[in-house]
Each structure stands twice: as structure tokens, then as C-alpha cells.
Amino acid sequence: MPDEELRIGVFVCECGRNIAGTVDVETVRRYAESLPGVVTSQVNRYTCSDPGQAQIRKAIAEHKLNRVVIAACSPSLHQPTFRACLRQAGLNQYLLEMANIREQVAWVHMREPDAATYKAQETVKMAVARARYLRPEQEMEVPVTKAALVIGGGIAGIQAALDLADAGHKVYLVEKEPSIGGKMAMLDKTFPTMDCSI
């Protein structure tokens, strides 16, 4: 168990009707409130919106939250958004956990609202359980080599290489054939301008 007292905030997103159309978010919110370590549980209409994020930052300050659970969409979509929100509130971004109740609950159990609500509750429970053990993590910073590799010397590779080179970066343009030009070089004229390809 972590040393400090756990103060978890849960934020349940309606995502308009996307989630709230299937999942009874108020039931989920109330359920989350009952979970150990949860000090506040709130519903947002759109958690990712500015007002939604402001509500989270406010709650972090008000309730001295040290873990944040957001029950909304897939982390692949808005985890970066909410990590930034935590950073702004002065909290380490690794103290965030997302419960995916949209792509993996509301949208896949649309004809079973009760079962979907139950699954959403349990998904939040799993996220809160995990959040209890989250720790602040420091990201490692690595230097960036100021050069780019472009694989393929067709029209796309040539254009990308030129843009990067014009911006002052060193570019290695690698082409497996003996000449660059790719398929485009074989074309006579090109649409819609009917001009020459080479």
C-alpha cells in the first residue's frame, strides 16, 4: 500500500449521448463514490472539453486529490489530453488512470443498458483498484539526433526529403533502385494539370 493517504477523484464522462445514452452515469458516479480511497466522484458532460478539464483541476485543488480516474473514452484517444490536465494542476501525469466506458462498454453493449451500466461500474472499480498503486514516475529525456532517414525515393520520399533539407536538417534519402523517381517517373503526363511527370 502506498504510504500517503489515498485521495482518489473519479470523473465519469457522459460524452453527450455517446456514453450516457447507454450507461446510467449517475449510478456509476454513486458507485464510484463508495469505493475505498475515493473522496469525490463527479459527472461531466464532456470531460475532454475546457469546462470538463477545468472541473478536474478545480477538484484536484479542492479535494487535494493525489490520484485521478477518468471514466470516458479509450486512453488511446484522450490519455494525452488528461495527462496534460494533471500536469497543469501540478500533479504527476502518471497518477492518472482511464476507465474505457465508451469504446469498450457503451458502444459495444448498446442493447443491454443494465449490463453496460454494471460493466461500467466494474471498469471504474478496476481503474480505482489500479490507481491505488500508481506512483509518480519521471520520464527520461533523451537527446535528438538532428538528421532524418527517408526510405524510398518516389515522389513522396523526394518531397519529404526536400522539405526537411530546406528546413536545414540533414537527410539520408535511401532508394533501393539505381535512380530516384519511383513509379511517378514512368508516367507520361499527370492529372489534373496534364504536365510532365519528371
Binding site: S76, Y94, N100, Q104, V105, A106, V108, E112, K119, K125, M126, A127, A129, R130, Y133, L134, R135, E137, E139, M140, E141, V142, P143, V144, T145, K146, A147, A148, I151, G152, G154, A156, G157, I158, Q159, A160, A161, L162, D163, L164, A165, D166, G168, H169, V171, Y172, L173, V174, E175, K176, S179, I180, M184, A185, D188, K189, F191, P192, M194, I198
Partner: protein, 610 residues
């Protein structure tokens, strides 16, 4: 092309293959093989004196085999670099008795038969993949007779025949009698928008692919205008199912083609026959607008062939890239990050991502360059803190983690009893080491045993016998589950998903704990082999699950209750189907069986743990 060849910031490496790429965002180590051209690229002036003396004649690939080249050649007159090369497999060699004639003919003495492939290494911060496309080969569509009838050609062969720089210097003639054809037909969607099914007539895609190749409609419109320009009295018929003229200026071009008398017939021909004496072609088609069967006699037919994804498994594997179901590369997000690869620091440009025309390729290339610059303009970049560290109080220096790490990021010496150390910068965060460590001495930051076990326990605290616990890897299976959601595919609601970065992270302990808590079914899911975001980490998943199945058999637990599936990010359908299939299996699991399993696990697994 010329600009790229002479730009001071571009190091152009043609006739070069990627041997290896290692490293991570901001710090990639690239190894290339610069194949020997046998002609000094910097000295060659492309005078061409070597060509007439070369006795080896081969089909010219650039001209689609419509003309010939020698064993010493330049791919095409405007090639960059403007230098000759020798195809050494075709060349007779430099021994005077065999040949060596080009050596004498070259005044600049830039031919060198001792030239060897050179391996070069360099470092880059970002990579743009622009490996392009292949063109569909219509040989599999036997009804069009591409390999049998000389006057059936592909749209790419058409390009060479109408090009002033091509084998006929732009005089458009047909192959059978070298006369100018008067009646020309174009057949659209050759190799595109075709059904593929495992049991149907096109299981391997040799008859085409389901997607639209994007450019063929406009390419034919353009070709019809070129013909009308050069030979206004040519009769042109285009056989199509839909004309997709959706881009800027495209509709004008299509209209102008129709105004110039090009006939558009809605319907794809079922068959082409040839008159053996005239080599004219008889095209039978159902004109679906007129509702009648028509036969058109034509002098020449152009097959408007589509795109196929390039065969470049090597680069895909090196950069851990995946495909969408059509074979083109999968982007990080189809709308919000369309030119980013899921792997950080890698970007896509051009047709390798999807079929597109020149304008879109150029646009995407500029976007990819801008995305790469966003990275290159920084001095430092942060990498996610999902890395492993070793608790030396627990580590016994057994060395198992060293063997399973796909990145060689861990060092340890079992003989000298030197405990394991992780090089953080090389660790990509798959967690295979943490799953394999017999001492549980490895901690995966942000995916610790404690964190994952807490999820497992929370998921199975209530009614575990009614549930399926799913371990899904972040990059493929979890994304596949998301896609099922985006596609609104419905499946049973008794699934509980635990996300790990890689299926290789799924520790035996997680699975046994799930069964001990009474789970009816457990699914471990990850990327297909070759698609794993962590190179070969999912091979360890397979091995581990095999081992667990053996144990279950020995212990008297039905192995079917632990399932293993490879589900890609593009396989939302498969995720939903697997969930439905597993639910069928779950219904067969009785409460008695679950109680029995709990007792077995308590005895066997708990004993092993001690």
C-alpha cells in the same frame, strides 16, 4: 528529382538497401548496404560510350519490357544520379576472353569490376517511410487475356507507349502490328474493388483487392484526353462501374473528356476474345445503363490496373509497423495522426499508407516532413516512463530476463553472479522480462505486478463464474477492441479487459490468480507474429501460454478455459467474434468445475509460489 540529387543537405543513397534499424525515437541507428554499381557514380558522365559495345541485351524494366537495354545501362535518361551501372548477374564479366568491352570503351575509366557492396552506418532522429506501391498484375484475371493477347496492355504500359521519351517516341502503336489503333477501350477497376473470400474464386487476391485504388479513374480520363489530343479521330470507350472524379479540377477533366467524344459505358466486361487473324479484340459487356448485352470490336484494350501494397516486410519488421486489413500501413490514428506510425519518431508519406495520387502524396509528404521537424527541432525528447528496473534484493542473477529481452537492454552474468541491470534508454517497455522473472524481481513502471493484480482482483470480486477476463495488448488487441466499439459491433457484456503494453507482460501469476478467484474464462490477446510492437516479445507470450496449457492438462484443468488469440488493431470484427465464441465456451463451464479449479490452483500454484 534533380533538386533532391543536388541539395547540400540531402545525402542521396540509391541502389541501397536498409540492412538494419535499431534504437528509438530521436536515436535510431541505421545500417545500409550500398550495392556495387561497378561504375563510379561520381566519375561517370553518362556519355553512353559503354552501351553500344555491350553484347548483353535484356528487357528494359523502365519501359515495361517494351524496349531493351544492355547489361550496362542507365535506368532512364533523366535518372538521378545520372550514372550508369552494370547488372552483374547479366554481365559476361571483365575477363578479356569473355568480354570486358565496356572497360575499353570508357574513356574516363570509371568502370571497376572489383567494386564491392559497402556497409554504411549513420544515426538519425526521425524516419519517414515512403516505400510506395506495387502495380497490380492482371495475369490472374484470365478472362481479359493479358498474357495471351498482344493488344491487351496495362495502363502503365500505355504511359510508356504514349510518352515522347518512351520506346516509340510517343507514336502510339499497338504491339501486334505496330499500327496506330483507331478503336481503344479502357477497362476500369482491374484489380480494385474486387471481393476476396477464403472459399471464393479469389482467395489469394490474385484477381484483385477490395479497396478502390483511388487514381485509376482520373488516370484513364487523362489518358483519353492525351489520345484525343494526339489522334482526335480515335474512338475511345471506357468501361467502368463508377467514375470517381472527386478531386479539385477532376470533374472538369472528366467533362472535357466526354465533350471530346469519349464514350463511357457503365459495366465491366466479362470476357475479351481475340480475332486470331486481325488480333482485334471482341469485348462483351453488359451495358447496365441501357440494360443490354453489347459486343465491342476494338483494336486495343488498356487494363486500368490498381495499386497493391509494396512487399517490404523487412522494413515493416525493423520498425515494428502493422498493416490495416488492406495491406497498407496502419497509422497512429486515422483522423488525428494520419501520417504518424504507432512507433514514435516514424512517419508515413505516399502510397505506402494508402493508394493516393501525386497531389495527395506530395501533401502527405510535406505533412510527414513537418511532423518529423516537430521532433528534430527539439534538443531533447522525453520517452514514456514505462521501463523496467530490477530489485537487487530479489534478483538471483539467473539471466532469464537477458534472454527474453527483444532489445538486448538487460545485462547480467549468471556465472559471475552479477545481477541484472536494465539500460533504461534501450528498454521499450514490453514487460516480457517482468513476466518471466521467477523471483518477481523486475518492476515494470506504470504496469507493476501490484497494479495489474489489483485490476484482476477487482474484476473478479463479484460473480467471477459469469465472467471472461481479457488481457489485451495496448497496440493491437486493445486497439482492436476499441475498433469494435467505434464500429458499434455488439458482444457479450461479461468481459473485463486488463490493458498491458504487450501480451508478453502477462505473467503466469495473473492467469492463475484469475482462475483461483473463480474466473470462468481467461483470454490472452496480442499482436500477430511479425506485428508485435516489441519485435518478438509476443513469441514469449506463445511459449508461456503453451507452458500453461501443459500445466493445466497435468493439473486437471481444461486447457480450453485459457484462450490465446492474435487480434490486430484493424480486427474489430475479430475481437467481437472472439468474444462471442468465448461466451459459448463459458456457458459450458460449470460451478463445480470452477470450484474444483480453485482448489487445484490453491494447492498447485500456491505451493509453487512458496
Amino acid at each position: 528529382m534533380m533538386d533532391a540529387g543536388r541539395h547540400p543537405n540531402i545525402e542521396l543513397m540509391t541502389y541501397t538497401e536498409i540492412e538494419n534499424i535499431t534504437g528509438y525515437v530521436g536515436n535510431f541507428h541505421v545500417t545500409v548496404r550500398r550495392k556495387a554499381r561497378f561504375v563510379d557514380e561520381s566519375e561517370c558522365t553518362a556519355c553512353g560510350d559503354c552501351v553500344p559495345v555491350c553484347p548483353v541485351i535484356r528487357p528494359n524494366e523502365f519501359e515495361m519490357g517494351l524496349s531493351t537495354r544492355r547489361a550496362i545501362y542507365i535506368p532512364f535518361p533523366q535518372a538521378v544520379p545520372a550514372a550508369y551501372l552494370i547488372n552483374i548477374d547479366e554481365c559476361l564479366g571483365d575477363v578479356p576472353i569473355a568480354c570486358g568491352k565496356c572497360l575499353e570503351a570508357c574513356d574516363k575509366k570509371c568502370i571497376d569490376f572489383d567494386m564491392k557492396d559497402r556497409i554504411e552506418r549513420f544515426e538519425v532522429g526521425a524516419i519517414i517511410v515512403a516505400t510506395g506501391l506495387d502495380v497490380f498484375d492482371p495475369t490472374g484475371l484470365d478472362e481479359y487475356g493479358y498474357t495471351r493477347y498482344p493488344n491487351v496492355i496495362t495502363s502503365l504500359e500505355f504511359e510508356r507507349l504514349i510518352s515522347a521519351g518512351g520506346p516509340t517516341e510517343g507514336h502510339f502503336i499497338r504491339p501486334s502490328d505496330r499500327k496506330q489503333p483507331k478503336r481503344i477501350g479502357f477497362i476500369q477497376c482491374v484489380g480494385s474493388r474486387t471481393e476476396i473470400s477464403p472459399d471464393g474464386p479469389n482467395p489469394d487476391g490474385s484477381r484483385g483487392h477490395p479497396y478502390c485504388s483511388n487514381i485509376c479513374c482520373m488516370n484513364t480520363v487523362k489518358d483519353s484526353l492525351l489520345l484525343k489530343d494526339h489522334y482526335p479521330d480515335t474512338e475511345i470507350t471506357v468501361f467502368y462501374m463508377d467514375i470517381r472524379a472527386f478531386g479539385k479540377g477532376f470533374e472538369d477533366l472528366y467533362r472535357s473528356s466526354k465533350e471530346k467524344g469519349v464514350r463511357y459505358v457503365r459495366g465491366l466486361p466479362g470476357k475479351i476474345r481475340e480475332d486470331p487473324t486481325t488480333h482485334n479484340l471482341l469485348v462483351t459487356v453488359e451495358n447496365t445503363t441501357a440494360g443490354r448485352l453489347e459486343t465491342h470490336e476494338l483494336d486495343m484494350v488498356v487494363l486500368s490496373v490498381g495499386f497493391v501494397p509494396p512487399e517490404d516486410g523487412h522494413i515493416k519488421k525493423l520498425l515494428t509497423l502493422s498493416n490495416t486489413s488492406d495491406g497498407f500501413l496502419l497509422e497512429a490514428h486515422p483522423k488525428l495522426r494520419p501520417v504518424d506510425a504507432p512507433a514514435k519518431g516514424v512517419f508515413f508519406a505516399g502510397c505506402v499508407e494508402s493508394p493516393k495520387d501525386i497531389k495527395d502524396s506530395v501533401t502527405q509528404a510535406s505533412a510527414a516532413a513537418a511532423r518529423a521537424q516537430r521532433l528534430l527541432n527539439k534538443d531533447r525528447v522525453s520517452v514514456e516512463a514505462i521501463t523496467a528496473w530490477v530489485d537487487h534484493d530479489l534478483c538471483t542473477a539467473c539471466g532469464i530476463c537477458v534472454k527474453v529481452c527483444p532489445y538486448g537492454a538487460i545485462t547480467a552474468d549468471p556465472k559471475q553472479k552479477i545481477k541484472a541491470v536494465v539500460t533504461e534508454a534501450s528498454c521499450a517497455g514490453c514487460g516480457a522480462c517482468a513476466a518471466e522473472c521467477p523471483q518477481d524481481a523486475i518492476v515494470m513502471r506504470n504496469f507493476t505486478d501490484l497494479q495489474i493484480m489489483a485490476q484482476v482482483e477487482a474484476a473478479l470480486a463479484e460473480n467471477p463464474e459469469e465472467k471472461t477476463l481479457v488481457f489485451a495488448c495496448n497496440w493491437c488487441s486493445y486497439a482492436g477492441a476499441d475498433l469494435a466499439g467505434v464500429s458499434r459491433l455488439q458482444y457479450p457484456a461479461n468481459t473485463r479487459v486488463v490493458r498491458t503494453m504487450c501480451s508478453g507482460r502477462v505473467d503466469e501469476d495473473f492467469v492463475w490468480r484469475a482462475f483461483e478467484l473463480g474466473a470462468a474464462m481467461v483470454l490472452v490477446s496480442g499482436c500477430h507474429f511479425g506485428d508485435c510492437h516489441y519485435m518478438t516479445a509476443n513469441h514469449h507470450t506463445q511459449k508461456r501460454v503453451d507452458k500453461m496449457w501443459d500445466r493445466m492438462e497435468r493439473w486437471g484443468i481444461r486447457p480450453e478455459r485459457l484462450q490465446l488469440e492474435w487480434i490486430s488493431a484493424a480486427e474489430g470484427q475479430k475481437f467481437a467474434r472472439v468474444m462471442r465464441e468465448i461466451e459459448e465456451m463459458r456457458r459450458q463451464v460449470t460451478r463445480e468445475e470452477i470450484e474444483e479449479t480453485k482448489a487445484i490452483i490453491a494447492k498447485r500454484w500456491r505451493k509453487r509460489r512458496k
